[in-house]
């Protein structure tokens, strides 16, 4: 009976619920323009058994050293794609996101005896993050952040046994996504908290208590060097955070727009976090304040960092809500109007649990295995598929100018026959080339000189773009291909 209770337990039900929820928002057509160049890079590395040192895919930055910091992600994505097609990529995404929010739930579960509250906050964190549910390296950062917080919260509650995993997480993280410093920053925050607590309580002789954490921190830093570029990865982190063109022109890098529905959820999260931070009775809130400052800055700076805020602030929100419920109950003369303990008796009714589990599994498969048209293919409607085939068949010579969003797709389909002018790898191209792209695309005064500078003979763009419309009436260019998605112009 006990084994049955374990199998058909509350935890398993919540696990499935999360799976269904995440699936509903992540098993959707792949519309991310960057997935294409990630796949191509993965293919290149697997085929050549080496990570490229210079950019082979564009002709605007040929001699600039290229740090392929997400190489491990690209290999993993390519192998998934090669064996299972787009379904492989979607399943990989689902697995990583499930990991991220499952560990978040486990963290929250330890913060409160009100399990329903833990579920609600987790679901809220999921909903706040759905805009970032794309097959990109950043979803690994969500998972690693969640894991790190799970381990550190355990440590803060007195259990240091899991700290040994942090250096290993650091090694994977530094080879997958550029936000790897987060792990060290989180460890530092806890370290600062511990040191200040020891100092203020005059327990200097207990400084040894922080040794395991300090050791984990050192191990993490050592782990950062285990990447193909060793120390050279660090300046790249600073370069990326200061790319002006990117935050002016790439929507995910811009500040959140609180007029969008899902961003409103993030707004609610901020407010609840602030209230929790202000109202929780704990006197010394060093760690909580540091976490709030850091992730508030990250998420308000760039929309794509919103899930990091949701994951990192959820434990504080739980504590805040617990405190709020206690206050409400005590205000009404200690009556428990709001239960702070979930009655788990209901979840010991096995037949009910089995029913719930079957329902959830069925829902999951209903989402996962529909007609292939719905989920298994990228959203080809917006991609210049036919124009690409035209180029491959007609083979017009000379340099090609393309739109920013289609660059990845063109790399995937046209390399090595053609190299692109631009694509989503902004760190490769740098501010100068990005600005020059913008000047051409937006018809700035020197746009024609720039076309001359790069000896551009062919232009592939959207017929609705300013460039696409203006070239139609510009002497020296003639239209050689047109469909609803793309136009191709050739210099006469």
């Amino acid at each position: 009976m006990r084994n049955l209770e374990k199998i058909f337990s509350f935890d398993f039900i919540i696990f499935l619920l999360l799976l269904v929820l995440i699936s509903a928002f992540s098993l959707n057509p792949v519309r991310d323009p960057d997935i294409w160049y990630h796949l191509k890079i993965g293919e290149y590395i697997v085929a050549n058994h080496e990570i490229p040192k210079y950019d082979p895919f564009s002709y605007t930055s040929p001699h600039k050293p290229w740090l392929v910091y997400s190489w491990l992600f690209e290999i993993g994505t390519y192998i998934s794609y090669k064996n299972l097609g787009w379904l492989g990529i979607l399943l990989m995404k689902l697995f990583i996101l499930q990991l991220a929010f499952w560990f978040l739930f486990l963290t929250l579960r330890k913060q409160t005896s009100n399990l329903l509250l833990a579920v609600i906050v987790t679901v809220f964190a999921v909903l706040s993050s759905v805009l970032a549910f794309t097959p990109r390296p950043w979803i690994f950062s969500f998972a690693f952040t969640s894991l790190t917080i799970y381990i550190l919260e355990d440590y803060r509650n007195g259990n240091s046994s899991k700290l040994k995993w942090l250096p290993l997480i650091a090694v994977f993280w530094v080879n997958i996504h550029i936000l790897f410093p987060i792990i060290f920053i989180l460890i530092s925050f806890v370290l600062v908290e511990k040191i200040v607590q020891l100092y203020l309580s005059n327990k200097h002789n207990k400084i040894k208590e922080i040794y395991p954490l300090a050791l984990a921190g050192v191990g993490t830093v050592i782990g950062f060097f285990i990447n193909p570029y060793t120390w050279r990865i660090f300046p790249l982190f600073i370069t990326i955070s200061q790319e002006k063109w990117v935050y002016q022109n790439v929507s995910e890098m811009q500040s959140p727009n609180f007029h969008e529905p899902f961003i409103l959820l993030f707004g609610v999260f901020i407010l609840v976090s602030i209230l929790s931070l202000i109202c929780i009775p704990k006197k010394l809130k060093i760690y909580e304040i540091l976490i709030f400052c850091f992730f508030a800055f990250l998420s308000l700076d760039r929309t794509r960092n919103i899930p990091l805020f949701a994951i990192s602030m959820s434990p504080l929100v739980i504590v805040g809500m617990n405190h709020l419920f206690s206050r409400i109950n005590s205000l009404v003369h200690n009556r428990n109007y709001i239960s702070t303990n979930t009655n788990k008796q209901a979840f010991k009714i096995i037949p009910l649990n089995i029913l719930l589990i079957i329902l959830l599994i069925a829902t999951f498969f209903w989402i996962l295995v529909p007609g292939q048209k719905r989920y298994n293919y990228p959203y080809f409607k917006d991609l210049p598929m036919a124009a690409t085939n035209f180029l491959l068949s007609k083979k017009p010579t000379g340099n090609l100018f393309n739109d920013f969003d289609s660059g990845g797709f063109l790399i995937f389909n046209l390399y090595p026959q053609y190299k692109v002018f631009i694509d989503g790898r902004t760190t490769v191209h740098g501010e100068k080339v990005l600005n020059e792209y913008y000047y051409i695309y937006s018809l700035e005064p020197n746009w024609q000189e720039l076309l001359e500078k790069y000896e551009i003979k062919t232009i592939l763009t959207s017929p609705k773009s300013a460039l696409g419309q203006t070239l139609r009436i510009t002497p020296g260019w003639h239209l050689i291909y047109e469909d609803n998605i793309s136009v191709i112009y050739r210099r006469m």
Binding site: S255, K285, I289, F297, D301
Partner: protein, 511 residues
């Protein structure tokens, strides 16, 4: 004890100096605020009202707006026009400075009178004024920021002392409703205080299991009466009830958020966004650490104005005035707690420190000297800035407005018919060319249909069909910013001829 006497002497000598320094800094800050695109049509409206002795109810400046026009800032527009007529554009600069100083100067003074920590009050007032300044343009909303401050201070003073000062709110409401649409914030604040008071009384009675009676409400009666009178005062405007239609219309302008930066969510990459984020984090830290938390009423105001500011960056100005009051109280509480702990630790040390006592007088003299030196320096700096062109900057900034291009149009009356113009230049063109010319669009966001904004935003970036829009409105000439792709498109178009261009603007006529 010597050091305690020292602090009393400092108290007497330095606080006025510090306050003067604070006001001087505010003045210098306010003389570097950015130019506002809206001021031009405000001025023209004021001119129209003075000359015709009437307030327009239909739009007179454009040929595309179809809805009724409610120039709710008519009183401010008269003030602007008369001020500029008699004193030139310097009037606007000094008005802006005066409103900033009044808003934050009065707040700082009142906070000081309420015995909050003086140094913290000054520092926070400077910080929050700096935040407000990043959005402190020229429009009538500056009056709203000032009035909102007065309203909040008055209501808080009422809560403290049940002072009769609360009776200034109805006449101020009457003034405010004829100056700017954000009178709704002030009115909402008054109603909020009244409702909160009432609910507190009722809830208190329920939890105490007692009946509500007249004596319980009597203390709050003036507040309830003031609220009712203030609501009635809002109807005393040229548009009557229609003013509330404008309030709701302004709150629900979806296109404004996409087109107009100040109505959009804050951009935390820009300077004002960074200042806003830094101050928000500082405010949250102070409130989190302080033993003196805001009460529920203030907490709700804190959260609500943050919501409004995240939704629309324009509300950050109002956030700065409201938060200053809430955060200063908590900051003072925090400072008090820290100083208690420090004093306990240092008391023994001070008693024995005879050397420190003998130095204190010299310290006082030195500090006073440098403080007055700072005052003199800032006065000189201010005078220098006022006398040089850097401060009395040309309002007609050729880097921002199409000064030369519009002058060209004024000199060529044969260029006539339907104009297509840049949205952000519409106000300036109205100011310079009405009644001879009417614009396609300008910054009066509440006036135009959503479709006009969408069409404008689409065609200048060439994401919408220019030809279709041209066919719809039969444009005769275009005055356009060179930044837009449309400019280049027209350059190559066989239908249009370039007749004028300078560094920022081009004018095309139809061939």
């Amino acid at each position: 004890m010597g050091n305690f006497k020292k602090s009393q002497s400092l108290d007497v000598n330095l606080k006025p100096i510090i306050f003067i320094l604070f006001l001087l800094l505010l003045t210098i800050f306010s003389l570097i605020a950015p130019a506002d695109h809206d001021i031009w049509w405000h001025l023209k409206t004021g001119e129209y009202i003075i000359q015709t002795h009437s307030i327009p109810h239909q739009d007179i400046f454009s040929y595309t707006a179809e809805s009724v026009w409610t120039p709710y800032s008519w009183l401010a527009e008269i003030i602007y026009y008369l001020g500029v007529s008699f004193l030139g554009f310097n009037f606007l600069i000094f008005l802006r400075a005066a409103l900033l100083i009044a808003t934050f100067g009065i707040t700082a003074f009142v906070l000081y009178r309420w015995k909050y920590n003086f140094v913290l009050t000054i520092i926070l007032s400077l910080l929050f004024s700096f935040l407000a300044l990043s959005l402190w343009g020229d429009g009538p909303y500056l009056f709203s920021a000032f009035f909102l401050t007065i309203f909040f201070l008055t209501l808080l003073q009422w809560e403290r002392t049940k002072s009769k000062i609360i009776w200034i709110l109805p006449p101020l409401t009457l003034l405010w409703v004829n100056i700017h649409i954000n009178f709704a914030y002030g009115l909402a604040l008054v109603i909020y205080f009244a409702v909160f008071d009432f609910l507190s009384i009722v809830f208190g009675k329920i939890t105490a299991k007692k009946k509500l009676n007249w004596a319980d409400i009597r203390n709050s009666l003036p507040l309830f009466v003031v609220t009712v009178i203030s609501i009635l005062a809002t109807f005393l405007n040229p548009f009557g009830l229609r003013i509330y239609r404008e309030v709701f219309h302004m709150a629900n302008l979806p296109i404004s958020y996409a087109v107009v930066e100040e109505f959009a969510s804050p951009d935390f990459h820009l300077f004002y966004g960074k200042v806003f984020l830094a101050i928000t984090i500082l405010a949250v830290i102070i409130l989190a650490l302080s033993p003196k938390k805001p009460d529920l009423r203030s907490m709700l105001i804190f959260i609500f104005i943050l919501v409004l500011s995240l939704y629309s960056g324009r509300n950050i100005i109002f956030l700065s005035v409201l938060w200053l009051l809430i955060v200063t109280e908590s900051a003072s509480g925090l400072a008090e707690e820290l100083s208690k702990k420090t004093r306990r630790a240092n008391t023994q040390q001070i008693k024995n420190n005879l050397l420190a006592r003998s130095l204190s007088i010299r310290h006082i003299v030195i500090i006073n000297f440098f403080a007055w030196l700072a005052v003199v320096f800032l006065i000189i700096l201010l005078a220098y800035k006022i006398l040089t062109t850097g401060v009395l900057r040309e309002y007609e900034n050729e880097k921002i407005f199409p000064v030369q291009a519009v002058e060209y149009l004024c000199k060529h009356p044969e260029i006539k018919g339907n104009m297509f113009n840049d949205y952000s230049w519409g106000g300036y063109i109205i100011y310079k060319t009405y009644p001879e010319r009417k614009v396609f669009i300008d910054n009066r966001n509440q006036l135009y249909e959503k479709s006009i904004f969408e069409k404008f935003a689409g065609v200048v970036l060439l994401t919408k069909d220019w030809e279709a829009l041209d066919e719809e409105y039969s444009f005769d000439y275009v005055i356009i910013n060179k930044e837009y792709p449309l400019e280049e498109f027209l350059n190559h178009s066989p239908k249009w001829r370039l007749i004028y261009e300078d560094k920022i603007a081009s004018i095309f006529v139809k061939k």
